[in-house]
Amino acid sequence: MSLLLSMLAYPFIVRAFVVGALVSLCAALLGVPLVLKRYSMIGDGLSHVSFGALAVALACGFAPLWFSIPVVMLAAFFLLRLAESSRVSADAAIAVLSASALAVGVVVTSLTTGMTTDVDSYLFGSILAMSRSDVVLSVTLAVFVLSLFAAFYHRLFAVTFDESFARATGVKVGTYKTLLSLLTALTVVLGMRMMGAMLISSLVIFPALSAMRVFRRFRSVVVFAGALAVACFCAGLAGSYLLSTPVGATVVLCDLAAFLVCAAVGRR
């Protein structure tokens, strides 16, 4: 309790806590359909694109969020099309795109400001990065994602479980998938500066994987993934405060520990 109070005495930790908990929750919820539909790589691809976009924004003096959000959303839309088309092998294409975006980011930064601690904090995250507008944005995002899940839960289930059946029964499958990928893009951009470009995709993938080990009901998987993600983020934030480690990596380690526990429980 005293740990909690001493942590919350710092305004930047309060901001990081609000943004991180909400982004973790959104990422976990969106992650369940993404992982089940075999789109896990999209989250990873998006984080690299988001790094590239941030680097370019910084070099050109654009406002980082307002530049990278549309770029990453565009990339999300494109990646989804790519993953669906059977002509190119999607996993290879996503890997190529990720590496290219990362390379653009690194080259642009080294040409302008040079590889500074800024770049390091983009790659591996920094707890200091959250501003007031991030808090507002993440609250908006969370409200949007939660209401999407509440209102269209059954349709999301149908689209995730069986696209062709959903389509034949008149569900607008394309709209749901586009919405999912756009929201994932927003989540990734918001979470990236705290969690780091290299680590943000774990927020999408780990909670869904862990929940799927333990639960057999879709509803339970969704609820548990969301709860677990928030719990792991809180544990990671506290751990990073106590041990003075980067918050992103600490949260990922908490997620890994939770996954191992879930895998052990599920095996029994």
């Binding site: 209102a151 059954h154 069986d162 059946f165 389509r167 029964t169 008149g170 057999r216 009901r217």
Partner: protein
């Protein structure tokens, strides 16, 4: 009295990117029909199916999807690999069949829940309803998907290769269930299949498509027709 038309093709052409595979297709599925769609690989069976479901428009002609408009169409697609490890209970999967009814669907109504229970009872999967879909056998999974299709359908079932991947006993079981639904419940069935024996044994009407010609008639007519004789010998 003329039986009601559930699905009809009027001078329909199908194909990819303006290259027609099949032209001037005319046929109708009426209440009480049991149609098997036969054809070699690449003859356009799956393209036809997509058009019948309204997923891709035909190159030319008109398809009247009366059953789908009335919310009376149920569809049993082929299973996808992603479904095999999907965490969902049988009940969750079956209930998702009701999504074709309009409305926001925040929750399923109690009428829908009891209809789902009834359908599960009919298909003998009632005791599986809390089980996880991925832990079932192939035949049981197919029953669950058929049950979901029944929740969506009150007039016409469209099935895509329903016996694929099932062992002989399970596929016999499936055909028996379909016959029951057709004979007792008055469900019209349109089934795409490559299982010629099953098609000749179970269906009343055969629609054979291939090489820019098509045939539609009863099983007896089909066996006398050229395409039936050729295809049947293989």
């Amino acid at each position: 009295m003329e039986r009601q038309i559930l699905l009809a093709c009027h001078d329909v052409s199908l194909g990819y990117e303006h290259r027609p595979l099949l032209e001037h297709l005319d046929f109708a599925v009426r209440e009480g029909d049991y149609v098997a769609v036969l054809g070699e690989n690449g003859s356009g069976k799956s393209t036809l199916l997509k058009s019948l479901l309204g997923l891709t428009p035909p190159l030319a002609g008109r398809i009247d999807r009366a059953a789908q408009r009335a919310g009376r169409l149920g569809y049993l697609p082929q299973q996808t690999p992603a479904q095999r490890d999907f965490p969902a209970t049988v009940e969750e999967v079956v209930l998702s069949g009701f999504l074709n009814r309009s409305g926001l669907h925040l929750t399923y109504s109690s009428a829908e829940k009891s209809a789902a229970l009834m359908h599960m009872g009919k298909l003998g999967i009632l005791e599986l309803r809390q089980r996880c879909y991925r832990e079932l056998s192939g035949g049981q999974q197919q029953r669950v998907l058929l049950c979901r299709a029944l929740c969506a359908a009150s007039g016409l079932l469209i099935l895509d290769e329903p016996a694929t991947g099932l062992d002989p006993a399970a596929s016999q079981d499936l055909y028996k269930t379909l016959r029951y639904l057709h004979d007792r419940e008055g469900m019209a069935i349109l089934m795409v299949t490559h299982d010629l024996d099953a098609a000749l044994r179970e269906a009343k009407t055969i629609l054979h498509i291939g090489q820019n010609r098509w045939f539609c008639g009863t099983v007896e007519e089909y066996l006398k027709d050229e395409s039936g004789r050729r295809f049947g010998r293989k």
